[in-house]
Amino acid sequence: MNSLILIAVLLVLSAIGYQMGRKRALAGTGGQIKGLHSLPSYYGSYVALWCALPALLVIAFWLALQSGIVDSLLISGLPASVQALSEGQLNLLLSDIRNLAAGDITSKTPDPMVQAAAERYNDLRSTGFAAMVVVGLALGIGGLTIGWRAINPSFRARPRVEKIVHWVLILASAIAVLTTIGIVLSLLFESIRFFNRVPPAEFLFGLNWSPQTALRADQVGATGAFGAIPIFAGTFLITIIAMLVAVPIGLFSAIYMAEYASPRFRAIVKPILEILAGIPTVVYGFFAALTIAPLFRGFGESVGLDVASESALAAGVVMGLMIIPFVSSLSDDVINAVPQSLRDGSFAMGATHSETIKQVIIPAALPGIVGSVLLATSRAIGETMIVVMAAGLAANLTANPFEAVTTVTVQIVTLLVGDQEFDSSKTLAAFALGLVLFVITLCLNVVALTVVRKYREKYD
């Protein structure tokens, strides 16, 4: 919270800088705007930017790096015996120290080493914060002075300010690229660490998945097996079921909406259908687990089928329901993009509406429809909450939709939620699965987006 105050102070300072810059520019010409190169507000902005930008940037970096640096300083100050602890135990100790430092009650009476460390931790933090305040304010005032002194009536303030704004804009648009790079690097980095322990071939083609690793080194039968084929198969099975539900329903609703529905019907029903896309996936997950899964199991029992309570069918059907609007609204757009002249041409030949749709519109819209189905597939593969709540955990290699299967996303969640040391094979496996997920969905998206774009260009 204190850093918020510092930021507020800097903002006030830059507001003052704005006024000072304005005044100084106007003073140079005796209050005549005409004598200035740019409007007075640009001189103000110039000083304000000099005051705020460098300081805020430094503070941002400081805040991002501070806790890491403080932790490593703290650890290096601990006794050697403690430093030799495993990373997991060290993390536990660190969180104890942090809790104590924050004044929270710890589970046991603190031992003197932890007590001392907590004091040291508080010291380090307050020193760090003080240093940050000093550096931040110094940069702010320094920047203000530099900006202020540069100002005279012939100073070209507007181009300068616009140049800075231009760079800020470029920086903003680079964030999206940085995000992608961040995703790729973090997934790759952790995956490589995983593949150092488990060979990629075993991961990609192994048939056995049981990621428990030994708690103690001498434990028996818990080395963990990381063959991901059952997981891929489960993901595939659930995705297929979802698409079997979503594609016919989505496509036919899109056709009806675009071709048959009266404007009134469309105006009412289309937004209602789009509600499906706005419902959070956790709600679908709960619906699948609470209503659909018992329904299917009950139905299965009544006809003598053995349906697991976490069957692939229940998760797949509900996922299909969620995917419907993705298929239907994209296909609707695509069908509407088919030029009216083609419809007219077909009607003028004496074709009925359905003949026109089946033989002219669908073939014309096919690339776009394929694109929308691919995008929906990628959604289904990456969907997490429905399967976490309604599909199973056990990695069964089966094609039977009544059995429980698990998916890539379910495994990522189960491997990473809960307390565990960070660089066990188990947690690293989650990143390897994440990498596979990312690559597959990326390929689907790239293909789908290219197909759709080509299609749009054709009829634009």
Partner: protein, 434 residues
């Protein structure tokens, strides 16, 4: 250039037409029916979904209270007779409560009977008693009739969710408790009230004390961070890409990249947050600030795409007019283009925020899935958010938590509907056709 073949065909066509046309019209009607059936199927499933949520969630908005005669025994609460608030606060209220229960429920003397009696009411009753004494010490030694909250099981019994006809072993309320409860009912000492607890507390292990306020505050803090980060950055990058960027390889890369980022599974953003924010920058786990940052990265593409569409919709003539007046490009954008595009940008932002509000998976990755009983006070406190709260409660086996899960979903959906409605109104109000 003979006309014989065409004429031949025409002659043949005349014979077959009538039957054929009937067949074609049947196909037409069938096809139309498929379309309608598909829409009805989707709407039907939506209705089932909403109905099942609402019907199972509505009971959670009420709670059952029972009137008990509570004896504020001086020997337990204030053995020294000192009326010192500090002493009073640490009195043995549980003892006093047990005595009252013994008087109230015949058969509560045995160990088992006592446990049954205690399980009739919420365990917050001792705190209620303490607060009453602190507010008015003069009630010590008296017996008061107080409406107290029942336990979750008794609440379910009162609402009829527990079938009284079931054999004792199959129901969560045993015969003794059922007898006591029916006695209270006969004496008109059971009432149903609005469940304020649900809206004023955070999570709890006890269903009757669990509320969503903690999650709502967590969601608000998280979304605030998301908005503060993604809105300016999103608008700025849209402005750059649409108004300033030269059309070259680099901007093509950014464009393709943004479109793909919009379709990356949300859980991957969670992995990014875990690897970069938690492990590399060592930011606190479970904190709204980290959740907000992850969600900001996730909503960024949505906002950029919507903003670019809004900017694109502003006709070039406006830009030309401003440039023609001698405005710089930045002035053109900030004075004319951006204000005209703002409604579209805001609509896109609200829709992005609504997505972020409903998002669960990436927050699981960064530890916002902990059991948190305190309402978060700052951006770095451990917190959870509404959808994660739904996820957590959905796991709990008690019937009372199923109810509360559905109720939390109703609250979440209400927020989402309000946000989307606002977006629609905004679009309606400022919609402009050039």
């Amino acid at each position: 250039m003979t006309d014989t073949p065409a004429n031949d065909v025409a002659a043949r066509a005349e014979d077959r037409s009538a039957a054929l046309v009937r067949k074609r019209y049947r196909a037409e009607r069938r096809f139309r029916m498929y379309g309608l059936a598909a829409i009805m199927a989707a709407l039907g499933m939506l209705t089932v979904l909403l109905f099942s949520i609402v019907s199972s969630g509505l009971p959670a908005f009420t709670t059952t209270q029972v009137a008990l005669n509570l004896t504020f025994d001086a020997g337990d609460i204030d053995p020294d007779g000192s009326t010192d608030p500090a002493k009073l606060a640490s009195g043995n209220y549980r003892g006093a409560l047990l005595k009252s229960l013994r008087a109230e429920f015949p058969g509560a003397e045995t160990r088992k009977g006592r446990r049954d009696a205690i399980n009739m009411i919420s365990n917050e009753v001792t705190f209620v008693m303490r607060d009453m004494v602190l507010a008015d010490p003069s009630i010590i030694g008296t017996t008061q009739r107080v409406w107290v909250k029942s336990s979750a099981d008794i609440d379910q019994l009162a609402k009829g969710s527990i079938d009284r006809a079931l054999p004792e072993s199959d129901r969560r309320v045993n015969n003794r408790q059922l007898g006591w409860f029916e006695k209270l009912e006969r004496e008109d000492r059971v009432k149903t009230t609005f469940n304020t607890t649900f809206f004023t507390t955070a999570d709890s292990r006890e269903p009757e004390q669990a509320g969503i306020l903690g999650a709502v505050v967590g969601s608000a803090l998280t979304l605030l961070i998301t908005l503060l980060l993604s809105f300016p950055v999103g608008v700025m990058s849209a402005v750059y890409l649409e108004e300033f960027a030269p059309k070259n390889r680099w901007t093509d890369v950014i464009e393709v990249n943004i479109n793909n980022l919009a379709a990356v599974p949300s859980i991957v953003f969670g992995l990014l947050g875990l690897a970069v924010f938690l492990n590399f920058f060592a930011l606190p786990r479970s904190a709204p600030v980290v959740g907000g940052m992850v969600l900001a990265l996730m909503t960024l593409p949505t906002i950029i795409i919507a903003s670019r569409a809004a900017l694109k919709a502003v006709p070039p003539s406006i830009r030309e007019a401003a440039l023609g007046m001698g405005a710089s490009r930045l002035q053109t954008v900030t004075h004319h283009v951006l204000p005209l595009a703002m409604p579209g940008i805001l609509t896109g932002t609200i829709i992005g925020m609504a997505q972020a509000l409903g998002e669960t998976a990436p927050l699981l990755m960064i530890g916002m899935v902990a059991f948190i009983v305190d309402i978060p006070q700052s951006f770095t406190d451990p917190a959870t958010v509404l959808p994660v709260q739904v996820f957590l409660w959905a796991d709990a086996p008690e019937r009372a938590f199923v109810e509360r899960t559905s109720a939390a979903i109703m609250v979440l959906l209400t927020f989402l509907i309000m946000m989307n409605l606002f977006a629609v109104l905004l679009r309606k109000k400022f919609e402009r056709r050039w």
